[in-house]
Structures are given as C-alpha cells and as structure tokens.
C-alpha cells in the first residue's frame, strides 16, 4: 500500500506492505536506526517515539496508522549540533551502560517531564485532585512515570538523576 509518513519534519512517500510497523519502517525503510527493536511486543519501551506530542510504542503501531501524524525519533531531538537538554543530562549523569534502551529512555523522559509540567498525576500521586509539582517530585514518581522503559543494565538510578536534573533546570529557568 502507499502511505505518507512525516518524521522529524520531513514527509516521506512510502510503498509498503500493510503489515509493516512504524518501528520497521523507521529502521528498515528510512534507515533511522536510532529507534531500537527490543521485545517487539510492547513490553520494553526501546522502540518509544513521540507522535503528535505523545510518547508511544512504534512496535505496536502500523506505519499505515501514522498518515497525517507527526513522528519524532531520537534523530530529530537535537537542534542542529546542540543536544536536547535530556540528551545532555543522560550524558552528564551517565544514564546508560550498553545504550540500547537509551533512545527510548530519552524520548520517554522528554515526554514525562512535559507531563509533570502539565500537572498530570501518575499511579503513585497521593492526591489526584492537586496538580503535581515539578520542584518537589519524588524519585518514586519519576520511577513510576518511566516504568515503561526497561534497562537490562539497570542504569535506573542515573536515569532518575537525569530526569530530575532536567526537571529542576526547567523549574529554575
């Protein structure tokens, strides 16, 4: 089938089998291999991308479903030669070891920070009726909000530090 796919502000005309997932289209058709295939069944988060501002799993998304939507992958996060603050924070905090889950972790973290700034609750938020506060967000909150991204190297403490660094920097600025 023919479909169009808009990734990192570039629109591509694709001719693909209807069975092709967004993940496989990104990696195998467009050569954007920053998005990783971990479990390929929605369990690990390595394939996380941002569609229309929301973090989602590209392995459970058919590329045909994305027509008319705006996809951001890890390749589209930096501005020119300047890293996105979350990328810089992962480097600064050493938020990875082997690096395989890292693109998904970073994209997920970017959205998690936006969600906190929007004040929306998570499963561990004590009072659903109050907006959450970025400045006082607990580690428990960060871990819960990032629980869709597994890291088999268990770099979790440093990932939490990276997310916190970006949260606090944004609060201060």
């Amino acid at each position: 089938m023919r479909t169009t796919l808009r990734v990192n502000s570039t629109t591509h005309e694709l001719s693909v089998d209807s069975r092709v997932t967004l993940l496989d289209a990104l990696r195998d058709v467009l050569g954007l291999t920053g998005t990783k295939k971990g479990c390929d069944q929605g369990a690990c988060g390595a394939c996380t991308v941002i569609i229309d501002g929301q973090r989602v799993l590209s392995c459970l998304t058919l590329v045909a479903m994305c027509e008319g939507q705006d996809v951001v992958t890890i390749e589209g996060l930096a501005t020119g030669g300047e890293l996105h603050p979350m990328q810089a924070a992962f480097l600064h905090c050493d938020g990875f070891q082997c690096g395989y889950c890292t693109p998904g972790q970073i994209l997920s973290a970017v959205c998690a920070v936006q969600e906190v700034h929007a004040g929306v609750p998570s499963h561990v938020t004590r009072n659903l009726r109050q907006p959450v506060n970025a400045a006082t967000l607990t580690d428990e909150e960060i871990r819960e909000r990032m629980s869709g991204n597994l890291c088999r190297c268990a770099a979790y403490p440093n990932i939490v530090s990276a997310v916190r660094q970006v949260l606090l920097n944004e609060v201060q600025s």
Binding site: T21, T48, Q54, A64, M65, E115, R129, S147
Partner: protein
C-alpha cells in the same frame, strides 16, 4: 502476521458497514491488543478498519455525567480534571494499568474490548476454548497462578485483564454502539462482558461489525469517596493478581451505600452485588469490610496454583474500603 487490507472510512456507521460485511474484518484503534495479537497469529483479520479518526475523541461533561468518545485515549480519560475530581476510582484504575506509552495509544473502547492475557490463549500451539472452541483448556491443569477464581467454567478460567473496566463496572457506565444499518443502542456495563460458561469464545454482547461510539459515566456524587487498589507482583507495569474498586457513601461512620468491583480474579469485570447489599446500613469498620469480603468471594473456585488469590482478594477489599473510609475529602 497474515496479510490484511488497511482501510480508512469517513464515519462510524461506515466503519460498522465495512466490518459487518466481511467475516474476517476487525476494527483497529490503538493497536495495543490487536497488533500485538496479530503478530503472534492469535488474531488473523483479512481487513482492519481504522476507527481513530471518526470524531469519537472528545470528553464532554454534562449535568448527567460524562460522555467519553470511544477513541479517547486511556491517558486522556485518566488525566481529565473532572474525572480526577468526581470519579477518582476511574483515574486510579487507569493509571495503575500498563505504562504511559501504552495508555497514550490505547483507547477507551479498546480497553473495554481488550483480550485476556492467558498465556495459553496467546500461544497458538496450546489448547484454548476461547481462541479455538472445542480444543480444550490447557490452563485448568496447567500453570494457572494468574487465572480467575470467580466466574470460571470447566471450559475456561482466563482472567479479564482490565483495570479500567473494574472501575467502570462500579460506576454503572453505559456503552453506546452503532450498527451497520445506522441504528444505535446502549448496553449496561454489567451486561456487556460475558462469563465463559459453555461458550468462552463469546466474550462481549456485540454483533460482528457493531462499533462502540462512546460511553456515558452517570453522575454519582458518592464516587468522590472511591478508590482502586491493585495488588501485583511488581510495583508498576504488571497485571493485577487482585484488585478492588470501591465506592463508599458514608453518613458519619455508617455506610449509606457501597459499591464493589473486583479485578485480577474473575473472568469478566466483576461486581460483587451481594457484598454491597450486606454493607448497606452497617458500621464502616474493618470487621464489616472483612465480612463483606467473605461474601464477595463466596463461590470462588481455585485451581492448583491460584489458591492464594482468594485470601489476597479479601484483604485487598478490606484495605480498599478502609482507604476510602479514611480519605480526607
């Protein structure tokens, strides 16, 4: 994955026509169940009809309650300020399930229609009456630690996996649909999901090609004092071993009315009506809640590996009610 045609249509009734006209056609919304099960050949549609762009994505607050479009995402519903304020049990239930990525994709109707996580259902080499009627049930004599103890039959003991549905069951949500001929109807939540009985392959009260368009959450002032408690093997991103959705209407320390839904232990979103009746008019003490829990689990049937769920569910009920009672509103 089997080959299939991907189809977009302009309106809900067109989607219903497109699917009802083909035995092998299915609706596709978020994809978190359908694409997953297509990859493992459990579902093999020859046509999928995308229903995410048919104007069913809004949440409308009215005097009578809240109308929620079928394609509203789980995140959108859980994060909605009016839902958080008036129906905390629903926000809590949704937020306890899956992950933000999955809740952003999954729709309200898709959550209602999600399939069991029974590993024998997901394995095409196993026997499963739900997937292949008459083939038998490998779970009954197999590894059934996660399986149901309520609403089971000799043909299927698969657990209904949804958290959201347990909250919707206690809120008496109505499910609205449209059929290929354009006629609409509404189905009470409690009549929607079917216990397996002799026909485990029949899971819900929909005709082939009947499309959920929206659900209505009726006004319930008592739901401000409500709670969803989920107990599971991990702190996050795991299905329930047992869960309880409770609504508590108190007058002093006396229970005016109570509602109780159970998840993780039943073959469909479970409403414990007799326990609710027992609670009415009694003192809101832990002892009362324990007695209600005993009633709620009456008739439960355990298998080799899931005995623990019966006691776990009772304790879950007591703690959920105690938390709702003690909440500082």
């Amino acid at each position: 994955m089997n080959a299939f045609a991907f189809q977009r249509v302009a309106a809900a009734a067109d989607a219903a026509s497109a699917v009802s006209g083909r035995r092998g056609a299915m609706f596709l919304a978020g994809g978190t169940t359908l694409v997953d099960l297509m990859k493992v050949d459990v579902l093999t549609p020859d046509t999928v009809v995308d229903v995410r762009h048919l104007g069913m994505s809004s949440i409308d607050v009215t005097g009578d309650g809240i109308t929620v479009g079928a394609a509203v995402s789980n995140s959108q519903l859980a994060w909605h300020p009016v839902v958080r304020e008036r129906y905390p049990v629903l926000s809590e239930a949704i937020l306890s399930g899956a992950t933000t990525q999955i809740r952003n994709m999954a729709t309200v109707a898709g959550n209602i229609l999600q399939r069991t996580r029974c590993s024998y259902f997901r394995d095409v080499h196993a026997s499963c009456n739900r997937r292949q009627p008459g083939s038998g049930c490998d779970a009954i004599e197999g590894f059934n630690r996660g399986h149901a103890v309520l609403g089971v039959s000799e043909h299927c003991i698969a657990t209904h996996p949804s958290d959201m549905c347990v909250a919707m069951a206690v809120l008496d949500v109505d499910i609205h649909t449209v059929r290929a001929d354009g006629t609409a109807r509404s189905i009470p939540f409690g009549e929607f999901h079917q216990a397996p009985g002799d026909t485990p392959q029949i899971e819900v009260a929909l005709e082939h090609g009947e499309l959920i368009t929206h659900v209505v959450i009726p006004h319930l002032s008592a739901a401000r004092r409500s709670h969803y408690l989920k107990v599971r093997d991990r702190a996050s991103y795991e299905f329930a071993l047992a869960s309880a959705a409770v609504v508590l209407d108190l007058e002093g320390d006396t229970i005016r009315a109570a509602r109780l839904g159970l998840g993780g232990i039943a073959t469909r979103p479970w409403r414990a009506v007799e326990a609710e009746h027992f609670l009415t008019g009694r003192k809101a003490s832990d002892e009362t809640f324990r007695d209600a829990a005993e009633i709620a689990l009456t008739g439960s049937v355990a298998r080799e590996h899931n005995h623990f769920k019966i006691e776990l569910a009772k304790r879950t009920i007591v703690r959920a009610y105690a938390t709702a009672r003690d909440a500082n509103l």
